[in-house]
């Protein structure tokens, strides 16, 4: 830590700071160091996504940051307070977590579950005050669960359960919100909703939000900052765009079959066979975009740098009708549907792959 920081009063700005943090497990006297020398800060209102392949140490990092696991070296501060000096109750008021743990919720209703967020504030008999109740219903409203208050938690869909658990964490009224793989069991729209909600909580409530996830695509689209742990457990951080273009994302995830493609911002399986180059042109951006995707799906290289095309496709659209002109080796064929285009293009690719490579 810089000496000037040590002298100044606890920085009111950062919700979370880690300095020279090493994390892992202690078993008896030996320690397994998984993460080494991580330094990070998280200001209020910032929405961060933590990504990395399985086994990179995402959960270990999160557990250490919220004080549920003590660091092997280095320090963690919540709102400037060293986490070691905090009691369990103090920590609960500073960091709220949503885990993937499943539990039998029995007869508990949505508002029962959300009320658990008030635990760090209630007395030994756990009586809710009027303001506790207000905070609970506010959290329920915020997560879009109004009207679900007296529904049994067990009867909710996975997406609604995730919202209720997030509402519980919101009701905990902590400046740091940690969601550990909140999208794990959800369908596509519910996943997007989770990210949307996390971004909104950061923006409107000024919470620092950390979401660990396997949905790199969603993380790139929604998070303000990306934290990456790679296979060697190295930590790096930056704006999603920076991380994509600097190759940090690729280094973390690339394997023998799948690569991160910075141009499209998505992961792609490498095609093993002869590349088939196509040029695609047209006026309608939507028709053009989906034609690109079709060509990519069939394994084509699009707009190669050397300007040599095996085929070129012209897209035109009138109203809802889209039509294509496909030209290869001087022959022109036409298609009026994606299905036909896929078939024609597929045939061209097949015959090109059967020919021996000219080079």
């Amino acid at each position: 830590m810089k000496s000037s920081e040590a002298l100044s009063p606890p920085a009111a700005t950062a919700v979370l700071e880690a300095c020279g943090l090493s994390a892992g497990w202690r078993q008896g006297k030996s320690a397994t160091r998984l993460l080494r020398n991580i330094t990070l800060t998280l200001p209020p209102g910032r929405f961060v996504a933590l990504v990395g392949p399985n086994g990179a140490g995402k959960s270990t990092l999160l557990r250490t940051l919220v004080g549920m696991q003590s660091p092997l070296a280095g320090t963690v501060r919540l709102r400037g307070l060293p986490i070691k000096s905090l009691t369990v109750e103090d920590r609960a008021r500073l960091a709220a977590c949503v885990f993937t743990d499943r539990f039998d919720s029995g007869w508990f209703t949505v508002s029962d579950i959300v009320s658990f967020g008030r635990y760090p504030y209630t007395d030994a008999r756990n009586r809710l005050t009027e303001s506790d109740r207000e905070i609970v219903s506010e959290a329920i409203r915020e997560t879009g669960l109004s009207g679900f208050e007296s529904r049994r938690f067990a009867e909710l869909s996975d997406g609604e359960k995730q919202k209720a658990l997030t509402a519980r964490a919101v009701a905990q009224d902590a400046p740091l919100l940690v969601l550990d793989e909140p999208t794990a069991f959800l369908d596509a729209p519910a996943r997007i909703e989770v990210f949307h909600l996390a971004a909104r909580l950061a923006r409107t409530r000024g919470k620092a939000v950390i979401v660990s996830t396997h949905d790199v695509d969603l993380a790139l689209r929604h998070a303000e900052e990306l934290w990456i742990l790679d296979r060697e457990h190295r930590f790096s951080s930056g704006a999603p765009e920076t991380m994509a273009l600097s190759g940090a994302l690729g280094r973390a995830f690339d394997g023998p079959v799948v690569r991160f493609d910075p141009a499209s911002g998505a992961f792609r399986a490498l095609s093993e066979s002869v590349p088939f180059a196509v040029g695609i042109s047209g006026d309608d951006p939507v028709a053009l975009g989906w034609t690109f995707r079709l060509a990519e799906r069939l394994g084509c290289v699009i707009e190669p740098e050397d300007g040599h095309y095996d085929a070129s496709i012209k897209v035109s659209r009138t109203g809802h009708a889209i039509s294509w002109e496909l030209e290869a080796a001087g022959k022109v064929t036409r298609a009026a549907s994606f299905e036909t285009l896929a078939e024609l293009l597929g045939r061209l690719i097949d015959s090109a792959r059967k020919r021996p490579d000219p080079t």
């Binding site: 549920m68 029995g106 508002s111 009320s115 760090p120 030994a124 007296s150």
Partner: protein, 358 residues
Amino acid sequence: MSDSPVPHSELRAGTARRRAGFILLGVAGALLLGADLAFGSVRIPFMEASKALFGRASDSAWNDIVRIFRLPKALTAASAGAALALAGLILQTIFRNPLAGPDSLGIGAGASVGVGIVVLLAGGSSGAALLSGLGLAGWAGLAAAAALGSFAVLLLILAAARRVENGVTLLIVGLLVGYLAGALVSLMVWFGSPQKTQVFLGWTYGSFSGVTLERLPILLGALGMGAALTGRSAKPLDALLLGERYAESVGIRVKPARARVLVAASILAGTVTAFCGPIAFLGIAAPQAARRIFRSSAHRVLMPASALIGAVFALTADVVAQSPGGGSVLPVNPILALIGAPIVLSVFLRGASGKDPA
């Protein structure tokens, strides 16, 4: 109040159900207590039995019968039932398993080992006089031994629970620990003198009638201690239903909270076992019935509800045990099994079909 998280009508419906439930159970408990005083080898009219409590029955023999014999027995039954139910509730929450209970996890068996050591191995006093002749300090020691035996088994099960996530596997572990404890008891019986063995075997049948008026305070004192420890733990117990990580993340110190309620469960189950012998099914069935009747998972509701239902079950069993009349009394355990087994079975089947919360 329009912002209340629970719509008013729902809140009222839940509260009304709870109030009605507690009133009904209270009335049932009082009636059963009266019946337990009235029934026995000598039938005493209901009104006379309640008068006899204050020494005002028309027949002075009835006064003695009710006050010296039947009142301690009825109070023992009620408090033992309540204590086992509370212990069962704690175990079901801590192990997050609706089929956990003092007997299914081998905790009763652990208490038997404690009792066996005291009765069969320790002391040189001659057999038959042992249990009946045991001084008050001896009985307190016996209760402590049983509680220690229970606690030892609980620690074993807890260690196993950290390794196995599966609830059914945990029950199998409990079953095996029970066998282990049973084997220890058998060996002690083998080496014990015939008289001591007979006393011990009589104890294993389970009965509420062994507690005399003088011993009653020890039983009630120990159970009161266990219940007080439990009563203070409703908040952490609720949180533990969500799992240890959630409990910790909302500010519960999980280890001390868990240790406290497990000590409470050991005291409750161990003491009852020491005084009444191993009592089956009550500990599993009563919390189940409480959840079903009160439609709640909150411990501040389930604790008094389970205790009341446990008392009602035990009193029912004791009243039924007296039903043959004419000096013959049925053993309590089979009667409790007849009440409890169908409840536990229905919970198991419902759990398997995933319909209702356990």
